[in-house]
Homo-oligomer: 490 residues x 2
């Protein structure tokens, strides 16, 4: 503290990888979170808000094996030496909460949670170290009805926030089917299994022939580098290719093809039966292939998932930063996991859930022009006579009481031009002017700023002649007139 | 990591001083934040959401003069050795944001912000290390109209969230008047001035005579301990007492009394003129002493305030943890501060603003019975035949499509009693039952769980005889009947 006075002024900067959100960026997100919460609530899910801070021990994934365990998370030591960290997702805290409060919670426990999470990662363009997630999970049931419900809810949620049917797909797969494929191949070595799974993950990028090469001897990639293969024989690789190319026009046909791919594997057949249950439940509720598809190439989060996995993908094309067309891609994903609560309790607790990447979903809506690029500003009551501030405040009070967003100009009123520039910067729809003359005559001037901007832009002023952007109204009709103009501007 | 496998299971516990919020605790808070944001927005304030993390340098108050600067804040070092910390309020980040973005922001800049803040303090009963604040500030104007506006907005906000007029008061004072009192007393020594201010702060507790003693030779307090006095003569102490007892029934009379108390002090008179401006502006808009009062005993946050200070107090009585009646007290406070942005820019930037303690305000509404103690649970469709899960899912889909919160029971359906216990734990209004017989006859059983609970509670069953809590309806009338019952339960 003592040193501070001699130091240069502090830099006014967000820490590296963090950013500020202004006005409509904040309200659009909270509107979206509100809509998502509405769907989750209607499905019977209860809200949960845990603190941003957990013990590193409870988070589990990032335990201190070094002096400072800040790999991946932001962590520090409490005064009693306990390591604490900012949560990196909403699933790890759910496992802790369920284990801690399980005697008071209903079983099954349907919960939703929304809020920021933090990652101690290298920031990049568009990649921030704090971002929002919005999760729904059902803990304490092994029923496939829980997974089916979450897939249906995900589809409903996307439509609720403004992604029309046809612009998204929920892709569903099952980790057990993948295990079945490995079994059918006779792959038992863990390292080799991991290599195969990594290869499967490249299917979207390299296609069938690419996967075939990568499972065998290897492949020359686009940059000219040679990528070593997994070293399987053609025959051994066959189940993987049968699996990856199993997708058909209907879920029923895809399941038939998958059955062939895992032939002879019990775990594989179990996975297919689970997918069949999910498809049956969804079809009974009217969710067909136009919304939810069995897709073997959906191999997300191979980490802790133990059963069905699912992912919501936006299927429309956008231009990337280099101007190339590409699909927007994934905005949500999840699956069934059974090990997370067990860490605390020792007993397996079945659970399944989804996480929506709120910021990516907002970006998608912005791409589609479904989100306003600017907030409407307030009606600005200008100050012509600083001694009559009370009059102007009374005017804004009347407007606000009528539910109209309004404010009096609070800067230095000397330069009237600055007041209009301010209104412009605020994207104000209307400015109100009441000088001494107006006051005396019991009127106010109303300036329609949107119309004014249109007239200023227009090549021909003729067409606007009968439609002036500024006019006077009796003082006691101010609120009614403002309301009329706002209604017309919408 | 290597050690972990041998370690005992992690404890399922929130870190010390943190807690989880469930269901209605979360939704009530977000409802309240939404209402407050609505008022702030109508007053022309724009949302701002900065990250939870700031550089310690930007936060300023807690600079690293020790190896680990975690006094008061949760802090850690980034990979490039920058000290970062969780924000401890929303004002310090605002100063950083305004300094960083001032060329792009309108001036004056009206902004609101809401979210958690973190304090590295010793937790106590009801005192948590993460809690919510909800702030509104106007940066870049010295006009008293900005302070008056925030006082009016504070009153409107309290009424909007459910505190009726008469149950709250916004108390307003001015730091300059306090300085004027010190000047009138001839107190120039900083340490002595601080002693006097501390004594003023005790007025609510010890009263006029107590303050008189504490300013003089000292005082025997309730515990029998002798508290040393400031050592002023009776004559010197007079302005403080004139100041503290200046409060009258009308703001006009209070200001007259205050004028006497600061007689001869220029800064004191300036403060009174500012209060007069605020009173004039508020009265013009109809905010009288029933809502906003000049109150010399409001001496909050003597730290960085430079002009008007204000505080919202709830005036109804509650019982404290020992069963004693006491006033609920303060739920919001703020004032004018000019030094915060200057830290970054070197130029003084006038600013004034308020912070609402959201959790205290929620506690107040709970005291007044204005907040539901429990969320209404979903309609629960029970599972009589696990092979017909698709039927049950179809029923919930119909209910949800009608906007009714509903779910199918996803636990083990074997024991029907457990399904009803679950519905009870969820506070479900209705359970739906469709066994094989019902299915065959095209009906469902509807169980009105609220009515059932009332009948169970009632001493005389007679009165409920014609009003059974369970009845059957044709399957195709299920949604309509559920809607009727829910409407009746409200």
């Amino acid at each position: 503290m003592a040193k501070q006075k001699k130091q240069p002024r502090p830099k006014a900067q967000t820490p590296k990888g963090f950013r500020d959100y202004f006005a409509h960026e904040v309200t659009e997100r909270s509107d979206m979170l509100g809509k998502i919460a509405g769907v989750y609530h209607r499905y019977g899910f209860d809200a949960l808000e845990s603190a941003a801070v957990e013990t590193v021990e409870a988070l589990g994934k990032f335990l201190p094996d070094v002096d400072r365990p800040n790999e991946g998370v932001f962590a520090w030591q409490d005064e009693d030496d306990t390591w604490m960290a900012l949560r990196y997702d909403l699933t790890a805290p759910l496992a802790r909460v369920y284990a801690q409060h399980r005697n008071d919670l209903p079983t099954p426990y349907r919960r939703y949670a929304m809020g920021p999470v933090w990652r101690n990662e290298k920031p990049g363009p568009g990649r921030y170290r704090q971002f929002y997630q919005c999760d729904a999970d059902t803990v304490g049931t092994a029923s496939m009805a829980a997974d089916a419900e979450i897939c249906a809810m995900l589809a409903d949620t996307l439509e609720e926030v403004g992604i029309p049917r046809g612009d998204y797909l929920v892709r569903v797969n099952n980790r057990k089917v993948l295990n079945g494929v490995l079994e059918a191949m006779g792959v038992t070595d863990e390292a080799q299994a991991a290599d195969v799974l990594r290869t499967i993950d490249k299917f979207d990028k390299v296609g069938e022939q690419g996967v075939r090469e990568l499972l065998g001897k290897g492949r020359l990639d686009a940059s000219g580098a040679y990528i070593d293969g997994v070293g399987l024989s053609d025959e051994q690789a066959e189940p993987v290719l049968a699996f990856l190319t199993a997708k058909r026009a209907t879920n029923a046909d895809t399941l038939l093809k998958l059955t062939v791919a895992v032939e002879g594997s019990q775990i594989g057949q179990e996975g297919i039966n689970e997918l069949q249950s999910i498809v049956n439940l969804l079809e009974a509720q009217g969710y067909g292939e136009d919304r939810i598809v069995i897709d073997p190439s959906c191999v997300r989060g191979l980490g802790y998932y133990t059963g069905p996995v699912y992912e919501a993908e936006l299927t429309f094309e956008i231009l990337d930063e280099k101007g190339r067309k590409r699909q927007f891609g994934s905005v949500a994903g999840g699956g069934r996991y059974d090990g997370l609560v067990k860490r605390f309790t020792g007993q397996e607790v079945a659970a399944t859930g989804v996480s929506i990447g709120v910021d990516r979903l907002l970006a998608a809506l912005r791409e589609k022009g479904r989100i306003k690029s600017q907030d409407q500003g307030p009606v600005v009551v200008t100050v012509m006579d600083r001694d009559r501030m009370a009059d102007y405040q009374t005017m804004v009070a009347e407007l606000r009481n009528a539910g109209i967003r309004a404010e009096v100009y609070l800067g230095n009123p000397k330069n009237f031009g600055n007041q209009l520039k301010y209104a412009d910067k605020r994207n104000s729809p209307i400015a109100i002017i009441e000088g001494g003359d107006e006051k005396e005559n019991g009127i106010v001037q109303i300036k329609d700023l949107y119309l004014g901007a249109k007239i200023a832009e227009s090549a021909s002023l003729e067409e606007w002649k009968g439609n002036p952007s500024q006019f006077e109204v009796p003082r006691d009709q101010m609120v009614a007139k403002v309301r009329d103009i706002l209604a017309g501007q919408d």
